[in-house]
């Protein structure tokens, strides 16, 4: 099923600034099920405290206190591709995040890409995405949730705006 709220924001001159991939020793299906459950991202993204979803809007609170608002652009079950973009509150000229879960002889290959402007964020996202793929493997293969994650029952009511990027 193709679940799509809007046409992904694309400008041809944007390039992929971050690209990380990891082979996970698991069939693609269970991995994709976790990735496609947008509200579960904080369970496998280290340093992410919570990820709430309302409609097409995901609100992520980072462990440093920063808040990211995101628009979910596409959850394409046939291609096993998830796309989103950061919309604020930091000033983002352009962002597109894409997670693809591909078949692989050893299990599946997860590719996590991001386009980001301001470019200053690229190395930050690059490192975080590398951690996130490991976190995804930890969750799917070992059942371990990521550092920083607060289950909805434990989550503090803070809005995340007290922190800093």
């Amino acid at each position: 099923m193709l679940w799509k709220w809007s046409v992904p924001f694309r400008i041809v001159e944007h390039t992929v600034d971050v690209r990380r991939e990891l082979v996970i020793e698991s069939p693609a299906g269970p991995v994709w099920a976790v990735v496609a459950a947008a509200e579960r991202q904080a369970e496998w993204f280290p340093g992410m405290v919570s990820s709430r979803v309302e409609g097409a809007v995901r609100t992520v609170v980072a462990a440093g206190g920063a808040l990211f608002q995101e628009e979910i652009l596409a959850i394409d079950h046939s291609r096993r591709t998830f796309e989103y973009r950061i919309t604020g509150p930091i000033l983002v000229h352009h962002h597109l995040g894409r997670i693809s879960v591909l078949d692989d002889e050893a299990g599946c290959r997860v590719v996590y890409e991001q386009e980001i402007d301001p470019k200053a964020m690229a190395p930050v996202l690059d490192a975080a995405v590398g951690d996130a793929l490991e976190g995804l493997r930890d969750l799917v293969v070992h059942g371990r949730t990521s550092r920083g994650w607060e289950s909805p029952a434990e989550a503090s009511p803070g809005d995340g705006t007290e922190g800093n990027i």
């Binding site: 340093g47 462990a63 206190g65 000033l91 470019k119 490192a127 920083g148 922190g163 800093n164």
Partner: protein, 516 residues
């Protein structure tokens, strides 16, 4: 007998900031007295001219290629060796107060222990020392950030959370906004009370830790002031100490625009390209600020505020030293005072820092006041030494063998000691890769009164460029002798020595994980 080491660093402070080095504006009687009672180094040189690589060198005693922190934003590996770990293992109490910056500041997901400790106001890493420090309380350049000082400010002076100038703008570029009387970049009115400013906070926290130590403890205390690094926003109550309108322009500032630009043209091409706003090669200066717009009055105002910050540091250090003396610790206390790198502060018509290996950024204040009980004769060492020599010096003070993984050697305590050094040359490196695509790579050797810089191919350089400065005849570094045929043999000899001394580049460089 107990041993104690007080290691005091500032951030981005010039050699001429201190009275003992000929500074005539800021009053720095405390450091001047340390120099009079100890050893003052005329030419202390960093191994890199920005914070993270330079601080990694201070901590590890290694050259940049060996510790691997090749530019800001590259974290020092968690398991990197450090002098603090050695001291801790030898039973010393170890603390760091103020700016660490061994790990990136921009860390929204708390990937790094410094950020986690700061965010959660923890003084160690989940019950363990971090990088050998039993206790860390960290500060940055203002009220924001994932450091202990920010939490303290939020708790004690929430009304001043926004008093500091924001170091970065909403697009995460270094903030180019101007202020003050002249509109100079990163100059700002800061209404915070002096006793809540980070300079005094750093000493307050160090004193609180020291108060908890036993009289007989051996200890290593790194007091790391974030100033006088930009933003130039010392407490407003103190700004009137130095009236910018009364200041002469620095000798290094060529007043005449035509002359200034001709001097820049005589250097490697990235100098003029940055000045004209044609190149952003690194993150450490505001990308949206064009140095050619810098006015003489702006230079004066930045200069004045820097002097104010330097006075506040000296006074805070004086308060700390008095407390140590009252505790009866002074007699066996070694004090080392230095900084991580310099600041243009108007020299060459520029502010901030970057890939420019000249005295503004490379000639640093360094004073070592050995413990009076050791009876070391006060003096001045003229020959070049490096920050890479600090960690071995701390080992020597502590009576520990200098490990093989340290590249430096204990600081000489006299000119005779310097003359007998096995390796008198000092190396400085720069490597940067900016998101704009700009790459700059340079390596410098300081030896025999000459500073020789070789440029590798990059986006502004073909690899044939270089700079050769004769410090004895050209202290302002205005006559580049790189292409002077009469200096060719000297240049070749210096480059050969550079090649002989530089460690191998790591085959797998560490990743950049943040812009800063």
């Amino acid at each position: 007998m107990s041993r104690r080491i007080l290691f005091v660093t500032t951030d981005q402070q010039r050699y001429d900031a201190l009275g003992c080095n000929g500074g005539r504006i800021a009053r720095t009687p405390v450091v001047d007295q340390l120099a009079a009672a100890g050893i003052r180094y005329e030419r202390a040189i960093p191994q890199n001219v920005v914070c993270m690589p330079s601080r990694a060198t201070m901590l590890t005693g290694q050259h940049v290629r060996n510790h691997g922190v090749w530019m800001n934003g590259v974290p020092l590996p968690h398991d990197a060796p450090s002098v603090s770990s050695l001291l801790h293992s030898a039973g010393w109490r170890t603390g760091l107060f103020g700016k660490a910056h061994f790990e990136p500041f921009l860390d929204p997901f708390l990937r790094f222990p410094e950020s986690r400790m700061g965010r959660h106001r923890q003084t160690d890493e989940d019950g363990r020392p971090h990088r050998g420090f039993d206790h860390m309380e960290l500060a940055g350049h203002g009220g924001a950030g994932l450091v202990h000082y920010s939490g303290w400010l939020r708790e004690n002076h929430p009304e001043h959370l926004a008093s500091y100038f924001p170091p970065v703008d909403r697009t995460l570029d270094v903030n180019a906004d101007g202020g003050g009387d002249t509109g100079a970049p990163q100059v700002s009115h800061n209404p915070i009370p002096r006793d809540a400013y980070h300079t005094d906070w750093v000493v307050d926290r160090a004193l609180a830790w020291l108060d908890g130590l036993e009289d007989c403890d051996d200890w290593f205390c790194w007091v790391s002031f974030p100033d006088p690094h930009h933003p130039w926003d010392p407490p407003a109550s103190e700004v009137g100490r130095v009236q910018w309108r009364d200041l002469d322009l620095p000798a290094g500032y060529p007043v005449d625009r035509t002359e200034r630009e001709a001097l820049l043209d005589a250097k490697a091409p990235h100098w003029r390209r940055w000045y004209d706003g044609d190149l952003v090669s690194n993150y450490e200066a505001p990308a949206k600020w064009v140095p050619a717009t810098l006015t003489a009055d702006q230079v004066r105002e930045v200069d004045a505020r820097t002097h104010v910050s330097n006075e506040l540091i000296d006074e805070a250090l004086g308060r700390l030293l008095k407390a140590l003396d009252r505790r009866g610790w002074d007699e066996d206390l070694d004090v080392v005072f230095t900084t991580d790198h310099g600041e243009f502060q108007g020299d060459h018509g520029l502010l901030f820092k970057g890939p420019y290996h000249v005295d503004s950024l490379m000639r640093l204040p360094l004073v070592w006041r050995p413990a009076p009980s050791r009876g070391v004769v006060p003096g001045v060492v003229d020959g070049p030494v490096g920050l890479v020599d600090l960690a071995p010096t701390f080992c020597q003070i502590a009576g520990l063998e200098v490990p093989d993984w340290m590249d430096g050697a204990p600081l000489p305590a006299s000119s005779a000691g310097w003359a007998s050094r096995e390796r008198p040359a000092v190396l400085t490196e720069w490597d940067s890769r900016h998101p704009s695509g700009a790459e700059v790579h340079l390596q410098t050797i300081t030896l025999d009164g000459m500073v020789c810089t070789r440029y590798e191919p990059g986006t502004s350089h073909s690899g044939t460029e270089g700079e050769l400065w004769d410090l004895s005849t050209d202290p302002l570094q205005r006559v580049n002798r790189w292409d002077d045929p009469s200096c060719r043999s000297m240049r070749d000899a210096l480059v050969n020595e550079l090649d002989a001394l530089l460690p191998e580049r790591p085959s797998d460089p560490l990743r950049v994980e943040a812009p800063v």
